[in-house]
């Protein structure tokens, strides 16, 4: 592949979905699905090739239209970006495949495809942006399309949830924008590479960082700011829920990591990183406890997301010390983001199948699922393994790294949180999986709504994602190498 194309890769990754989106809208029913599928198919090699290039030749920078910053728009792809783009495209493809049959050509759902492609494009753009203002723009695009997707079903709860989600998103963006403004005023640039050199822990800098952080934390739904997530994620159509939980929340987290680990050095804000860690731990416990008291499958899964997000935030206190522990934490945090993306989307897709087949997702109504829908049950169970962080699974590698980091950096208490979180996850996972094997009176066998086995593409997509999460557990080394490419100085210690 020529050097020129290599240069274009980031741009292409954004352009393909963005161009596909309007076509999907215009062609309308009948062709929109094909368009989406085509775009999804095109994105795969691009993402894979980007990752390959990054691994082989290190981080990539690309100035749109050839003008570099500070004025022009620049794109940058290091290991972290490439990883997120890659996981986005994988999850995106399978969700698309799943959606083909899930939505069918129901008129009501025709807006799904353009919105989804638009969201996809904005996510790629977000992961590839090189300056904090573009990040803001992408964040907005992502939020808006996401909100629209939540409201897609037009069901009342969905609309309420969407509204709640939108307000939260706007509030978050506002805070973030304020921070950006402060930074620009103080340091005269929005380009992260430049900021890395110029940013100072003075009042403006700290205020800016604080504001941006608050906004992003809100958008990432970190405890106690998760108020918008459970309703939004549980009431959206299942493929949408999958995308939201797997990718969208990771978007704002991506920016947070960029700001903290890359631009501003956390050791300048030791207290703050501890606060994030504490909130993360609380999220793990609180989200799990809430998951334990849910009666609907999708609510439970949504709260599981609240809990799993918590692990991501352990990255900040663990990395603040630098050294080997920091790079362990870096790998652990990002690895968790990836494996959670795969597993959680698998769970929502499986939940979607259950809803479609049996017309409800009440937990007490799921007895004997492993008999009625073995593949679906299997997909959900395997995804659960990653949630619990048990080997062999990506979740295990992530937790392994986090525990290593916490013991290695002498902050063993985070390790306790990680282990405890795994146990809590096991508790709510088996609350779901246990009854799959049951033979109770309220077995699914009594439900007559069942239209029969779900299409193989849907089951297949869910199972593929779950298996993907498992494969990460036994063959994760390439991903780890990718993640470490161009890692920020703080965490670029020794490659684990």
């Amino acid at each position: 592949m020529g050097d020129w194309v290599t240069q274009q890769l980031p741009a292409l990754l954004i352009l393909v979905p963005f161009t596909a989106a309007p076509f999907a809208y215009l062609l309308g029913a009948g062709y929109d699905r094909q368009t989406a599928l085509l775009s999804a198919a095109l994105t795969q090699p691009l993402a894979a090739f980007l990752a390959l290039t990054v691994v082989q030749e290190g981080p990539v920078r690309y100035a749109i239209g050839g003008w570099g910053g500070p004025l022009g728009i620049e794109l940058a792809a290091d290991g972290f970006s490439a990883t997120m783009v890659l996981v986005t495209s994988v999850v995106g493809l399978l969700v698309t495949v799943y959606g083909l049959r899930y939505f069918g050509d129901l008129e009501r759902y025709r807006f799904f495809w353009p919105l989804w492609l638009f969201l996809w494009g904005s996510l790629n753009a977000l992961f590839l942006s090189a300056d904090i203002f573009n990040l803001y723009v992408c964040l907005e695009l992502v939020s808006m399309s996401a909100v629209a997707l939540v409201g897609l079903t037009l069901r009342r709860e969905a609309l309420v949830a969407a509204m709640r989600y939108m307000l939260a998103a706007i509030l978050g963006s506002l805070f973030y924008l304020l921070g950006v403004a402060l930074f620009y005023g103080a340091f005269g640039s929005v380009d992260m590479a430049t900021l890395r050199e110029t940013v100072r822990p003075d009042v403006a800098g700290q205020a800016g960082l604080a504001l941006m952080t608050a906004g992003l934390v809100l958008k990432t739904a970190l405890f106690p700011l998760h108020f918008w997530l459970p309703p939004a994620h549980s009431n959206a159509a299942s493929p949408v829920s999958a995308v939201l939980s797997a990718l969208v929340v990771k978007g704002s987290f991506f920016i947070l990591v960029r700001l903290w680990i890359d631009v501003a050095q956390p050791e300048a804000f030791p207290g703050a990183s501890v606060v994030l860690g504490v909130l993360g731990s609380s999220a793990i416990v609180w989200g799990s406890v809430q998951a334990l008291r849910q009666e609907r499958l999708k609510m439970l899964v949504a709260y599981s997301t609240v809990a799993q997000i918590g692990y991501l935030f352990l990255l900040f206190p663990l990395a603040s010390g630098g050294g080997q522990a920091a790079s362990d934490a870096w790998v652990g945090g990002i690895f968790h983001a990836v494996s959670h993306a795969l597993a959680k989307s698998a769970m929502f897709l499986a939940a979607g199948i259950v809803l479609a087949r049996f017309g409800h997702d009440r937990l007490e109504g799921l007895g004997g699922l492993s008999r009625r829908a073995p593949v679906t049950a299997m997909a959900f169970g395997l995804a659960g393994v990653t949630m619990m962080g048990l080997p062999p699974s990506g979740g295990f590698i992530a937790k392994w790294q986090l525990i290593k980091a916490s013991i290695g950096s002498g902050q063993w208490w985070w390790a306790v949180v990680v282990v405890a979180g795994g146990l809590l996850a096991a508790a709510y996972m088996f609350r779901v999986v246990g009854p799959f094997f049951a033979r109770e009176a309220e077995d699914l066998d009594d439900s007559d709504l069942d239209p029969g086995p779900s299409p193989v593409t849907m089951d297949g997509a869910a199972l593929a994602l779950a298996l993907g999460a498992l494969v990460l557990g036994v063959a994760g080394q390439p991903l780890i190498d990718l993640i470490m490419v161009g890692a920020p100085a703080l965490v670029a210690g020794v490659t684990p």
Partner: protein, 500 residues
Amino acid sequence: MSWEGAALLMAVVAPFATAVGIFALGEARERARSAVNLIGAAVTVVAVLACATAAWSAEPGRHAAVGIDLLDIGFGLKADMLGALFAVVAGVLWLITTVYATGYMSHASDRARFFGFFSICVGSAIGIALSKNLLTFFVFYETLTLATYPLVVHSGTPAALRGGRTYLMYALPAGGALAAGVVWLNLLAGPVEFAAGGSLDPALAASHPTALVVIFALLMLGLGVKAALFPVHGWLPAAMVAPAPVSSLLHAVAVVKAGVFGIARVVLEVYGPLGPELGVTQLLAALAGFTIIFGSVRALAQDDLKKRLAFSTVAQLSYITLGVALASPIAIAGGLAHLAHHAAMKITMFFTAGAVAEEVKAYRVSEFDGLGRRMPLTMAAFSLAALGIVGVPPVAGFASKWLLGVGAVDAGTWWVIAVLGVSSVLNAAYFFPIIHRAWFREPKAEWAGGPPTGQPEGDLRMVVPLVVTSLLGLAMGLMAGADLSPASWASAVAGWGLPW
């Protein structure tokens, strides 16, 4: 890749592949499924035997090994004498159990699910046996934890679900403790390989004594649950709601032995001399000694046969732990030999429990009066195995008990001899009544005439395997001194030539 390497991979991969095949074939295609299952088991047996050959042929210190890399610690397999012993036991008994299970499950539902997860469990057990370092071990260990759950709850009754829950209550926290211990140890000592005589640097004992003790405690907590050490033994009797093949292979061999095997690996091949130096193995031995007595006492009153067997297992597993924890190669040999001996005898007894339940619907010891007339072969096999557990020569149990006792003298720990003596009496006290009822009490009217005329006493797919395993147990004991017998094998592992 060397042929040893191929054998190693095959031994671990074959069961998992079998599982995939079974899941793929699904519930409907029974014949194909059974065929895949049997072939997979057979291939596995060949592979583990090849691994054993590799281990035996390797000159001391060098073992056939193959590795795949993951993270900074190599994910690796190796066949050494100790691992091969467990792998062969698990593999061979799996083949036998498969035959038994096809008979036992012939009227059950969800068989694809059952046999699939069953294969996964065996694969994990073999992986545990052949792991070359602590991380690999841990990965397979947790896989085993999970794959067992669907089997425990298989029947789907509330009782089964409760049993499964209890099992998880113990197993998952244990996994957490184990994880913490493993990570910590890796940070402290770098990649923890298994090496005869202990892989930890003796200097560590001086520099981090407390850390090492805590880590040991964490590891033992994690492994102790599967090894059913007091006080974390409670799940085992509760897990007896599982179908007989599960109780037989998993709760008498694969799962529980995975725990004691792990303890053996940690005590002998990780801590090595550091164990006694830190004083932790002595504590472990004391705990095991107590568990032996405790389990036997609890077994006394059980009327439900499978529960009685379960508590007996609790006690017997600690024989292995005890032997491993004693500072004498002879005792170690005894403990490790019991790994195989107990497997052969206890699997026979669980097979019997299942066969009797299926054939004459008798589940309680009090229902066994005169059963010897109705199912002579079955009960003969059971009695033989029971005598073995009690330690009556020449059945296998005696050989391991003998090595343990002599080893106790060697280690100068008189209390171990007392424990062995008391437990022999207790074992007799909970097994002889069963034998007495089966052979020396008057049977019910419909049993008095013996098996229904012209028919075998039960489904031959169940009777033959249990007779075979009981004869295995007899052979292991009768020829304990022969080369390649588990006892000699274990002695070779313990680095101690048999005195006879």
